[in-house]
């Protein structure tokens, strides 16, 4: 094995580990799935490197299958995330910790961090004529009283 190949494998390992780190630390469901995709990037980089190392196309064929599985995974994960979001109206993974071990305390939220308040934009006062259904295009406008 040439040192060149070791460098590529090192980058693949680093990508995998960074993805795992993101999966463990982030609390946003979407970012967790994205981190899993980063792990898949690391694996596919390693597979392509193995393909060049053995001078055979098998690694690249595996990478094509890996792409397929990644696409399936992303679609299923997003539909799951939408279903979960509809139940709790939040993407926080800690809200789904009812299955935690009996002797492990549930995760505590740091209350000192607040969400930024929703920005309230000024509403325009209604002006002009009220459209009346049925009269559109007839050219006759009824003034608001």
């Amino acid at each position: 094995m040439t040192p060149d190949i070791a460098r590529y494998l090192a980058v693949g390992a680093a990508l995998f580990v960074i993805g795992a780190l993101g999966f463990l630390t982030r609390r946003n469901l979407i970012l967790m799935v994205l981190s899993a995709e980063l792990m898949l990037h690391g694996v596919s980089l390693s597979l392509v490197t193995f393909s060049r190392m053995h001078q055979s196309m098998e690694g690249q064929s595996f990478t094509v299958f890996l792409l397929t599985v990644a696409a399936c995974e992303a679609g299923l994960a997003l539909s799951l995330i939408l279903a979960l979001y509809q139940k709790r109206k939040s993407l926080d993974v800690n809200l789904w910790s009812t299955l935690h071990e009996a002797d492990v305390p549930p995760p505590v939220d740091d209350i000192s961090i607040e969400s930024t308040p929703v920005q309230q934009f000024p509403k325009l006062t209604p002006a002009g004529n009220v459209p009346v259904p049925g009269t559109a295009g007839s050219g006759v406008n009824t003034n608001r009283t």
């Binding site: 040439t2 040192p3 070791a6 393909s51 053995h54 055979s56 299958f65 992303a74």
Partner: protein, 247 residues
């Protein structure tokens, strides 16, 4: 301890980059990002320098350095950023860098397919969902990582183990290993003959990939198609039913 002191060239950059990544993690009090970025950049550059033994052609090594550092750094920024939209965009950049590494390894079709599938489809869908679900700007759970210190230590210990294994591989191309590798190659070529590049052909052409996919792995391709169909049906079944126009 002895192992640690004999592998200082591996341990020191790993510790430095782990410190940088830990510094970048979203916390209650925001730290200056530059420090973490510089620390992790230094760590990864030293790591890259310690791994490259024999220098190859200059252009290739320069391109490799750019793409490798880009991929790893964009990955770190994606994992640590506070806004999920920026996270998705950093992930797109990491994908582009990985595709550059694919191109350097003579896999042009895979590079194009990965860009199309990831940057074209997956990122756009993720952005869609982020915008559907997080219309209210920054949220509390994005500002706070869970167990950042333990996770960073664990992840970088795993990375150190992987890199130490790689170093051992590149250091000892011992003569005793040669016959084993030769038999493995022989069995591989006899079981999957179409996956070897045809005589007179270079590795990584689309012709070769097609020969391998639709020759040796034809059933697997059919299975992958069925998997896509099943995932499609499953996504439709799982996705929530809702009234028109609401989320």
């Amino acid at each position: 301890m002895q192992w640690l002191s004999s592998h200082l060239d591996l341990v020191v950059p790993l510790v430095v980059s782990a410190l940088g990544v830990w510094w970048l993690m979203p916390q209650r009090r925001s730290r200056p990002k530059v420090v973490g970025l510089l620390l992790s950049l230094c760590g990864f550059v030293i790591l890259e320098g310690s791994l490259s033994g024999v220098p190859g052609p200059l252009t290739e090594s320069v391109l490799f350095t750019i793409f490798a550092i880009g991929a790893v750094l964009c990955g770190v920024l994606m994992v640590t950023c506070r806004n999920p939209v920026y996270g998705a965009l950093w992930f797109a950049l990491a994908t582009l860098s990985t595709c550059g590494l694919f191109l350097l390894q003579s896999a042009p079709f895979l590079a194009a397919a990965t860009i199309v599938v990831y940057a074209g489809a997956i990122i756009v869908t993720f952005l869609f969902v982020i915008m559907l679900a997080q219309q209210h700007g920054a949220t509390a759970y994005d500002q706070q990582a869970s167990q950042p210190f333990a996770a960073t230590v664990g992840a970088f210990v795993l990375l150190g183990a992987l890199l130490a294994t790689l170093q051992n591989w590149s250091v000892q191309p011992s003569a005793a290993d040669e016959p084993a590798v030769a038999t493995v190659q022989a069995t591989a070529s006899s079981s999957n003959p179409l996956s070897q590049p045809a005589p007179g052909q270079t590795l990584g052409t689309m012709n070769g990939l097609g020969r391998s996919l639709f020759g040796d792995y034809l059933f697997a391709v059919e299975l992958a198609g069925s998997l896509l169909l099943i995932a499609c049906i499953g996504a439709i079944a799982i996705a929530p039913r809702r009234a028109q126009g609401t989320l």
